[in-house]
Symmetry: C2
Subunit: 147 residues, 2 copies
DNA sequence: CTTCAATTCTTGAATATTCAATATTTTCAA
DNA sequence: TTGAAAATATTGAATATTCAAGAATTGAAG
């Protein structure tokens, strides 16, 4: 009897692949909804993080929205042009830039939130309440265990 | 008592975000290992799919490795230059191109597989056998329910 | 105090990805 | 059989991302 070897297991059985596939699919669905407002997913994340009204530095934001630093800078440039957010130099540490959400940004963010909630509800329906919360729990713990 | 509103839930509680975060982290780890051979994750996936020795069309491959069509074409161009894979026109349908893995590709694929297995084992250790298989199960079912 | 290393953000060039258009072949209806 | 529509892959231009270098500020050791 041959020993089952991991080396030959199909790509579809790898955790990394399943994560990529699921992420891609869910992200695609979310993109589709947010495109109603013409906003990419990352911009929604940025608005959402800033919507606590506090200033957030670029470094902080980059971590929170899963973008690397230069990419974030350029995306923020666009959002500033669209007057969704604005920059303020941190008075306590002038290397830093604090980002704030504008009123226009807040209005947009509310619309986007409700589109996103639509999606989550759609997932809950087709995938189930129990599976969803269990999946979230497992993902959180995976992320934890990776640090 | 205020009704708990999903609209204000922090971004970190959204399934889409947790998936993105987990995917990013696991992918980063895998990238790190594969970089020992100087190969991006997508190329490993391509080699792995082709390593069944059968010819696979570009469309098929694009679906399997989660790349869109033009991106795949250009990545395959690079891999052909590196003589890891080669193109053959499908004799049954000359619109199609069948991709095959070369001997050099096979050798590289074996090395990459063992690097990837290293990672999976590392995950099993820190995250646990049970959680891992449960997570995989849930991801598969999420992907299923999204079609 | 001064200077040197570390931190934070931005910029520009190199690279990669995507969108739209194109070329080729097949399918299928008239 | 012919001609129009669909399927498949590639190309080139437009966009976006990344890497490496740079500018500004802070921290901290001497």
């Amino acid at each position: 009897m041959a020993k089952p070897s991991k080396e030959n297991s199909p790509i579809t059985e790898h955790l990394a692949y399943l994560l990529a596939q699921a992420n891609r699919e869910i992200n695609r669905q979310l993109e589709l909804r947010l495109s109603k407002e013409g906003v990419p997913v990352e911009q929604w994340r940025i608005l959402k993080v800033l919507s606590d009204g506090n200033g957030h530095s670029m470094g902080e934001l980059a971590g929170a929205v899963l973008l690397n630093h230069p990419t974030l800078t350029k995306m923020i440039d666009r959002m500033v042009s669209d007057t969704l957010v604005y920059r303020v130099q941190d008075p306590n540490d002038r290397r830093k830039v604090l980002m704030f959400i504008s009123d226009r940004g807040k209005v947009l963010c509310r619309k986007l939130n409700s589109l996103a909630v639509d999606q989550e509800e759609h997932i809950l329906e087709s995938y189930g309440d129990k599976s969803t919360s269990e999946l979230k729990r497992l993902l959180e713990s995976l992320i934890d265990s990776s640090n």
